[in-house]
Symmetry: C2
Subunit: 413 residues, 2 copies
């Protein structure tokens, strides 16, 4: 496998610069233009099911459908603010006094309904004002206690567990959504390139993670997509561990799993780098994981090329199997415990899933997901390589959005 | 009201230094020693209600009861990992392959149960292995769809909506918990003192917020307690707005709401500072808010002093009313739309609540909560002053844990 050492290391200028204000304005305009169609799809489903309204509870959905921005951790302190009702002719956003001005600015077309601490008390008035009698509620999002309280508060209203309609719609990406994921991937690529000189023996994992975070936040990301994993040596066998005080040592791998958020959209990538001369065992695992990833990409390309027919695309289960077969053939099946990948967009993990338990139906298209096989040898070492991939069946296109090289990278040890 | 200008501004050395490794180890040992009693309280409640097990779903609870650390945003990607069952003689933690090693290290006394993507499929086996037939489930935490799936998977098992037992227990703070909140408050105090020279006309809100974040993260915080609010001038009338590109102007207020996380425990504080000579209107609002806060603290002190009897403590509703009466008397009642305060600990918002709708029963003790009155004049200005307060009825003690001065602070404009 190709190997890059000091002279051949990537540098920030290899990757796209952060998006300009003009591009950001363009994305905001594209969202504004796309929202009627997004709402239209939901309304068509309501009409078909004989339902009057959809009661949404998730921050991704209120941003997607109405443009209201609620932060990731903010949901827990927002109370009912940001929850919303879509009817045939209205979008009604709940907002307490803290959120009224924000919602008025971000969703000028929406009606604001004062969100009390006790939503059940106001539920009959809300539904009356919306003229809704049969309401779809995503049962995976609503706590059971709230469902029961709403059902008891308005016995004349029927609550209907809603299929995950908006999740399915969000899996299919509009061009301006893909552009933002590409921009977020480039922010992460550039930050890693800028980080490389700081990855040296003696530096603690947590310091490397913090430096990488600063590089992303000062390089165009408004937030991280998730907490950075920076795991050295045997810690890399923890596929989800947190960076700690442990210091890098020569000859170790260092696994970095991280992503940026740009204009609401996320990226997610993993690189496993070598600090000093790699152990033969680690190199062998690396090459195995790289082959598994290539096999998954190959399965996607084969499906996308055949017919340019979205129905001919492989399922998430098939793509997972293509990568897993490579790892199993090498006797490491039980060291690859997680799924191959996940969709990404306004949430870091969303549809589609690529895993052993993923639905056995063609992947949606166009869509973006991670391809991230890994092999973890408990107590010894671990390797994961993760790229974001755009799949567009109609265009016969499979494209890696993560541009950072995947060759063996050996940093000075 | 006292006013401080350039020469009298606070400096970082006015506040406690970040905790040493030794103190951190002491806290970990205190948690380990406290866990049997925490579990004992829960088990006594199960026994009293004739229940065999408690199925917990929240990251605060698994950390409090078993020591497993799940990050704030991590819950969404962890699947069922970190969810847990407490029976009379076991703690069983769900963990998929990504989390097994971590849980084994953090909760060595717990039994690990392999967490499948489809929990319902494994639910009967899990309950059989635990010998549980009647299971308490916090209905405010479990999504309705999961409740329904678990109920259908094991019809012989009774799911019983659980009162918020662990929330109630967590509201009463152990000494080592209070110490961590104090340490988190000091990290925030010091960071703000270090930030002051950077708060100048022409600097964008977002840059100030990012600098404050860096100061906390490099000054002892492993994370923020929540996204920082930094709001200048009329933006300060948005009690929950996000910092943006808007630049500070002389004569404006700047409202900073922020907190640190130290060894899992949070802090939360707000200061409204003046950049250049304050407008008379803003000064008047500031003094009103400060008086409202003092009235709340006075009500707490009166209750704590009378009898040294926890039952004599005021309710969260009464303390809110004490502050609100001051603001209403000045004709600004409708400009103070949110509650007076909230408990804090492993979560940024937890029990007890101090608000118009808070329970009319004595506050728990010892406990820690925020006291944060605010007055927001839409489109013009806003002022909030927020301190954390320790209430210990048995000791007759009311103590502000936030040490940063509350006087009018005028920065060079």
């Amino acid at each position: 496998m190709t190997r890059r050492t000091t002279r051949g290391l990537p540098v920030p200028a290899d990757f796209a610069a952060p998006p300009s204000e003009r591009r950001r304005r363009g994305w905001a305009e594209a969202d504004l233009a796309a929202r009627p169609a997004r709402l239209g799809r939901l309304r068509a489903r309501l009409a078909e099911a004989g339902l009057d309204a959809y009661f949404g509870l998730r921050r991704e959905e209120i941003r997607y459908l109405a443009g209201v921005v609620i932060g990731e951790g903010e949901e827990k302190v927002a109370g009912h603010s940001g929850r919303f009702l879509v009817t045939a002719d209205e979008v009604i956003v709940l907002a307490d006094s803290r959120y009224t001005l924000q919602v008025r600015r971000e969703a000028p077309g929406a009606r604001i309904f004062d969100a009390p601490a006790d939503l059940a008390g106001a539920w009959p008035a809300l539904l009356d004002s919306a003229g809704a009698r049969r309401v779809a509620v995503p049962a995976g999002d609503i706590p059971r206690a709230l469902w029961e309280a709403l059902a008891a508060a308005a016995p004349g209203v029927e609550l209907v567990p809603a299929p995950t309609w908006v999740d399915a719609d969000r899996a299919v990406k509009e061009p301006a959504e893909v552009e933002r994921i590409v921009a977020a991937a480039a922010v992460a690529d550039r930050a890693l390139a800028a980080l490389l000189p700081a990855i040296r023996p003696g530096v603690p994992e947590a310091r490397i993670a913090w430096r990488l975070e600063m590089l992303m936040r000062e390089g165009g990301a408004e937030a991280l997509a998730f907490d950075i994993a920076c795991l050295a040596g045997s810690n890399a066998a923890l596929p989800h561990g947190s960076p700690g005080p442990r210091r890098l040592r020569p000859g170790q791998v260092v696994l970095l799993d991280f992503g940026a958020q740009v204009a609401g959209y996320r990226s997610d990538m993993t690189r496993t780098l070598f600090v000093g001369e790699p152990a033969a065992r680690d190199l062998a695992v690396y090459e195995l994981v790289a082959r598994a990833q290539a096999a998954a990409i190959g399965a996607l390309e084969a499906g996308a090329a055949v017919a340019r027919d979205p129905a001919a695309l492989p399922s998430g289960r098939e793509v997972d199997a293509a990568a897993r077969a490579v790892i199993e053939a090498a006797g490491h099946g039980r060291h690859f415990g997680h799924g191959l990948g996940h969709g990404i967009g306004l949430a870091t993990h969303e549809r589609p899933a690529l895993s052993r338990s993923a639905p056995d139906e063609p992947l949606p298209s166009p869509t973006v997901f991670s391809v991230e096989p890994g092999v973890y040898l408990g107590g010894r070492t671990g390797v994961r390589i993760e790229d974001l991939v755009l799949l567009d069946g109609a265009a016969g296109r499979v494209e890696r959005l993560t541009r950072f090289p995947r060759e063996v990278l050996v940093l000075p040890g």
